[in-house]
Symmetry: C2
Subunit: 302 residues, 2 copies
C-alpha cells in the first residue's frame, strides 16, 4: 500500500493511492475473492479500505501502524515502458514483518508482491497448502539480495518480472535464454512483461507471446504490472487451476495459463488509461469482456 | 544493392552484401518469382548476381554503372532494434534513375524499396496494371521530402515502416493514432514493424498484432525489415491477392494479410541469425515451414 507522486508526459498526480497490493487486489477482485496482507500508516484514508471491502476484498490483514504510509515519487519520459524513481520513503513499510492470520494461512492462491525476498520467504513459511504461489521482484532485490531471492524462487510456481529484471536476474540479454535460466531457478512458469509490447509466457509445454491491448490514451503506466498479475492469478483462481494440473492435465494447464495471460494484458490496458486506480475503480465487467473479445480478434488468424 | 560494414554486439562484418533489394528479393523468392530493378557499381561481384539468377530472380533490371556500389557503415548497441548510421557513401546510387524494361512494367506486385519518394513515384508512373503496390520509407525522406513522400503514399496500397518512422511521419507517439493518421494518407494497409517485438497490421477490418519469432542467437538485425517485406509481399503474390479483394472478399483479404505478416516475421527471424544474407542463403523450405508452425503454436489459444 502506497502513496505515489507521479509525473508522466500526460500530466502529474500528487500523493495518489498506489502500491502493488492495491492494483493487484482490485484487478483480481474482478475474478475472485481476495485477502490483503499489508501495512499502512495512520495517514492512510479509511475510506479506501472501505472501498476495497465493498469490492469483496478482505482487508483485515491490513495493519495500521503509527507513522506515514510508504511514498514513492517517480517519473516517466516518452518511453512509458520504464519508470524512473526520484525518491522512496519506506516509512512504516521499513518495519513491516507480515504475520498471517489463520484465514490468510489457508489461502489457496498466494501472490508475493515485490518486497524483500526474505519477507517473501517468511510469508511462504506461514502459508499452508497453497495450490499456486506467484511471485514478483525488482532490480533492487536482484542486485542487493540475490541469494535470498533465489531461495524464494526455488519455492514458487510462477514468477512475473519485466524484461529488464529478467535480463538482470539471468545475466543474459536474450529473452529466450533468460527465461530458460529463470525456470531453472525454480518457477515452472515464467512470465516476462514487456510493457506496451505485451508479455511472454514460458512453461514446460512451450512459449506463448501475448500482445498488450493497444490503447490510444496512455496516461500513467504505474501499476500495470501488478494489475496484470492480479488479473492473471485471479483468472487462475477462478478456473481452479492447481500445480497438479501440470502433471495431470498439462494441456488444460497450458490453455488456462494462456487465457490468464491475456486477462492480465487486458486489465493492464485499463490501468494505464488514468492515474492511480481511477480507471479500475470505474471499470465494469462489460468493458472488461468487450476488450477481451477485441484482443482475441487482434491475435486470431482465421 | 549495397555493401554493408556493420558492427553489432555479436561481431563485425566488413563490406558484406546488403541492400534492401537483396534481402527483399531473396526472401520473396521463397514464395514467388521476383524481378529486380537496381543499380550496382562495377565493383559488385557478378557471382552474386548469378546466385540470385539461380534462385529464379530476374536480374536483367540490375544496371551496372561505372564506379562504386552504395556502401553503408552502421552499428548496433545492445538495443538491437535500432541501427546507428556511421556513414553512407551513395556512389553510383546517387545518379540512379530507374528506367523499367517492358517486363518490369507489367509486374503485378510492386515493392518500392526505401529510396527518394520522387523516384518511387517515377517507378509508379512506369508501372502498368499492378495489382498491389507496397512501399517502404525512412526517417531521412520523412524529414527531407515529406510532400513528395505524401504524393507517393497517396498512390500505394501498403506501407511498411518501423515504429520510429511511423511516429515521425504522423507526429504522434501512439501507435494506434499513428497508424490511423498514415492510413488517411493513402495506404489502405499499414504495417508497423517493431523489431524484436514483431509487427502490427492495420486495415479496414481491424488490427492484427504479430509477434517476432524469438531467436536465441541474434547476430545482426540489418535487413530484417526488408526480409519481412519480401516474405510478406511474396506470400500475397503466391496467394494471388489483389486490391479488389478489399471490396469483393474482405474476410479473405484480411486473413491472407495476417498470414502474410506472420510469413514476414518468420523470414526476418532467420535474417537476424547471421550477417548479410548468410542465413537466408542456406535456408531451406523445411526450416521455413517448421518455424512457421512453431510461431503459430506461440500465438494460439486452444
Amino acid at each position: 500500500m502506497a502513496f505515489d507522486t507521479i509525473e508522466t508526459p500526460a500530466g502529474k498526480a500528487g500523493s495518489v493511492l498506489g502500491g502493488s497490493v492495491n492494483y493487484f487486489s482490485t484487478a483480481a477482485s474482478f475474478y475472485t475473492t481476495v485477502q490483503i496482507v499489508a501495512v499502512v500508516g495512520d495517514d492512510f484514508p479509511k475510506t479506501h479500505l472501505e472501498w476495497l471491502s465493498r469490492r469483496g476484498i478482505d482487508v483485515t490483514g491490513v495493519q495500521i501502524a503509527p507513522g506515514k504510509t510508504f511514498h514513492w515519487v517517480g517519473t516517466y519520459d516518452h518511453n512509458l515502458n520504464e519508470a524512473k524513481t526520484l525518491s522512496t520513503a519506506l516509512n512504516v513499510f521499513a518495519e513491516f514483518d507480515p504475520k498471517l492470520k489463520e484465514q490468510h494461512r489457508k489461502a489457496s492462491y498466494v501472490f508475493l508482491a515485490n518486497i524483500d525476498p526474505t519477507l517473501q520467504k517468511s510469508v511462504l513459511n506461514q502459508v499452508e497448502n497453497a495450490q499456486l504461489v506467484a511471485c514478483d521482484s525488482m532490480n533492487f532485490w536482484i542486485t542487493s539480495k540475490l541469494e535470498e531471492l533465489k531461495e524464494t524462487l526455488a519455492r514458487v510456481d510462477i514468477l512475473s518480472v519485466n524484461e529488464g529484471e529478467a535480463y538482470l536476474l539471468s545475466g543474459d540479454k536474450n529473452i529466450i535464454r533468460a527465461a530458460k535460466y529463470i525456470r531453472n531457478l525454480g518457477p515452472k512458469v515464467v512470465i516476462i512483461k514487456r510493457g506496451e509490447y505485451g508479455a511472454m509466457l514460458f512453461t514446460e509445454l512451450g512459449t506463448f507471446i501475448a500482445p498488450a491491448f493497444p490503447v490510444e490514451k496512455v496516461v500513467d503506466p504505474t501499476g500495470a504490472g501488478d494489475s496484470f498479475a492480479g488479473a492473471f492469478l485471479g483468472y487462475l483462481a477462478r478456473a481452479g487451476a492447481t500445480r497438479d494440473w501440470i502433471k495431470n492435465d498439462s494441456e488444460k494447464w497450458e490453455q488456462t495459463l494462456r487465457r490468464a495471460v491475456l486477462a492480465g494484458c487486458v486489465m493492464a490496458s485499463f490501468t494505464v488509461e488514468d492515474f492511480s486506480l481511477h480507471r479500475l475503480m470505474e471499470l465494469s465487467q462489460e468493458e472488461l469482456t468487450e476488450r477481451s473479445e477485441q484482443l482475441l480478434k487482434m491475435i486470431k488468424l482465421v
